[in-house]
Amino acid sequence: MTDQTKDQLADGSYEFLSIFLEGLPFIFLGTLVSGFLGTYLPRGAFEKILPKNNTLAILLSGLLGAIFPVCECAVVPVIRRLVKNGLPVSCALAYMLAAPIFNPVTAISTYKAFNNSYEITISRLTIGYLIAVIIALIAARIAQYFILKESAKADEGHEHNHPRNLNSALNNSLRDLMDVGLYFCIGVVLTAILKTTVIDPTDEFWKNLADNSILGSAGMMILAFVLSLCSTSDAFIAANFANFKYGPKLAFMVFGPMMDAKLVFLYSTVFKWKFIAFLFVAIFILTGAFSLLFEMKILPWWMTSQSEIPLAP
């Protein structure tokens, strides 16, 4: 084994452990919540809580991250259980995709990372919310059969009197932890391999993409997919890509929390692979389009003023 291979193996292990250690407690928290929701939340509860109008319900679901902030790892087991308990999959998608971006922690970190820029912060939150809602509205028109895995579908027509006690809640939590933990682990392995052997963010290749907004946005989204960063920390990394304009940076910060290498595997605990492929393409195109609109200052002024960084001559 060459020294370079040994270094890559050690670095890959280091990357794997850092993401695993950081993510596992949050996944546990998510599965604990999901286990208790699955046990104690009465079937049909969402029909009482959510507006009858499906579009309005989706619009509201996309905003829930502001009240129930949750990271992209923890949200998957929660929505998985909520869907089984009768939450419409379109509403679950809106919450799942928007919550990691449309929440106060991400807003503050973006604001700080970009030199107290409220324009890019508002743009990130708004674009994240819009994409989540658009995809949820599309999903609302697709039969659940094409979206959900068999195991994730609501238990309609199979009404057991599942006990509502601590034992059952913890049993559900354990089951969810094992399912999601397995795919999380596979996703983190893939992320660590890609980060140490395939992608080098300091490579000239990435820097050369900076001059072209379309290629730059596409490149930054691919980078976000591979780096698999938390939505609370990715703004600091995005801000550091000095050569890139704001559009590609925005693409990096919107695409990553919705779709990255580890999330693909987490999503597979809920969705069919074909639908995940659709999600990837849809988020990629929509994020690219919105970041270009931002770049061309076609979006509202308060989202696109792109205040110049006050550098000395």
Binding site: Q4, D7, A10, D11, S13, Y14, E15, F16, L17, S18, I19, F20, L21, E22, L24, P25, F28, L29, K112, F114, N115, K149, E150, S151, E156, G157, H158, E159, H160, N161, H162, P163, S168, L170, N171, S173, L174, R175, L177, M178, D179, G181, L182, C185, V188, T191, T196, T202, C230, S233, F236, I237, N240, A242, T269, I309, P310, L311, A312, P313
Partner: protein, 284 residues
């Protein structure tokens, strides 16, 4: 889940939780996560172990009943593969959740975890650090993070060592290269920087340079960013080895390499220093 599966999953949960507790207790966690996240590891580890132990002791959900009119020989609307009687009820959970069995889950999670724990060095190699920006020029975007700054501000806010050198943060010296006004204040300033040593790969044809760096993180090492400053040693000066943790005193200057302004510390003296609990600096 059958009771056996629940027990096996419980044991796996105990092993995951134990890994978290081990990293916390051994303080190795400081090499992977920002200090703010350490208590999540402790709480998460304890919680996962409690869940695992509880599942090993109580593998069977209690009071799992069915309505009197619930016909258990019906065909489910999803593909169960078989119908079952009421007596089989303890395992009917699997009809709702077709996750992988315990052996697949144990295999696919414990193997990478064990391999990673065996091969990790609790830090990145020079190759890994390079990918995180060890030899990158400071970004102009971040330069603006430094508020308007005067020499008087510097005197007020930054303490000095016994030689009258400003104990400057690495990140300040690094990003100063991106702002001309800040450069004017810092250029020629006696400065002391603390950090880890790496070989220098930029503008080092004569071999009189090394690099000092700090790592900055928000959550975990996955978002780690390295900021470094080049050190130029006078002839005959004692040099530290790569990986040493040092305090480097000297004069801060700026040089232009391939059109990019880079910070350079002309060394007066480098001394070994005590490593901090965590060498990561948190982003604000």
């Amino acid at each position: 889940m059958t009771p056996l599966h629940t027990r096996l999953f419980g044991l796996l949960a105990i092993s995951w939780g134990s890994v978290l507790i081990y990293f916390y207790h051994s303080t190795r966690v400081k090499d992977y996560l920002a200090v703010d996240f350490h208590h999540f590891i402790l709480v998460g580890g304890i919680g996962i172990i409690i869940l695992g132990v509880y599942s090993v002791i109580n593998p069977k959900p209690k009071n799992h009943s069915h309505p009197a009119d619930h016909d258990h020989d019906h065909d489910h609307d999803h593909d169960c593969g078989h119908s079952h009687d009421k007596e089989d009820c303890e395992s009917c959970e699997h009809h709702h959740e077709d996750g992988h069995g315990p052996f697949v889950t144990i295999l696919l999670t414990l193997i990478p975890l064990t391999l990673a724990m065996s091969y990790t060095r609790d830090k990145l190699s020079n190759q890994g650090l390079t990918k995180k920006g060890l030899y990158e020029a400071p970004s102009l975007t971040n330069a603006a993070d430094i508020p308007p700054f005067t020499r008087e501000d510097l005197e007020k806010r930054v303490s000095k060592n016994q030689y009258g050198e400003f104990e400057l943060r690495m990140i300040t010296a690094y990003y100063a290269a991106g702002d001309r006004e800040i450069q004017d204040i810092f250029d020629g300033l006696p400065v002391e920087l603390e950090g880890r040593i790496a070989p220098e790969k930029i503008n080092n044809e004569t071999g009189d340079r090394m690099r000092i760096f700090r790592s900055i993180i928000t959550c975990c090492a996955a978002d780690l960013q390295v900021v470094g400053v080049s050190l130029q040693f006078p002839e005959g000066a004692t040099r530290p080895k790569p990986e040493d943790w040092v305090k480097a005193g000297g004069t801060l200057t700026f040089e232009t390499v391939n059109g990019t302004v880079l910070p350079l510390l002309k060394i007066r003296e480098v001394i070994q220093a005590e490593e901090p609990y965590s060498e990561f600096r948190n982003r604000q």
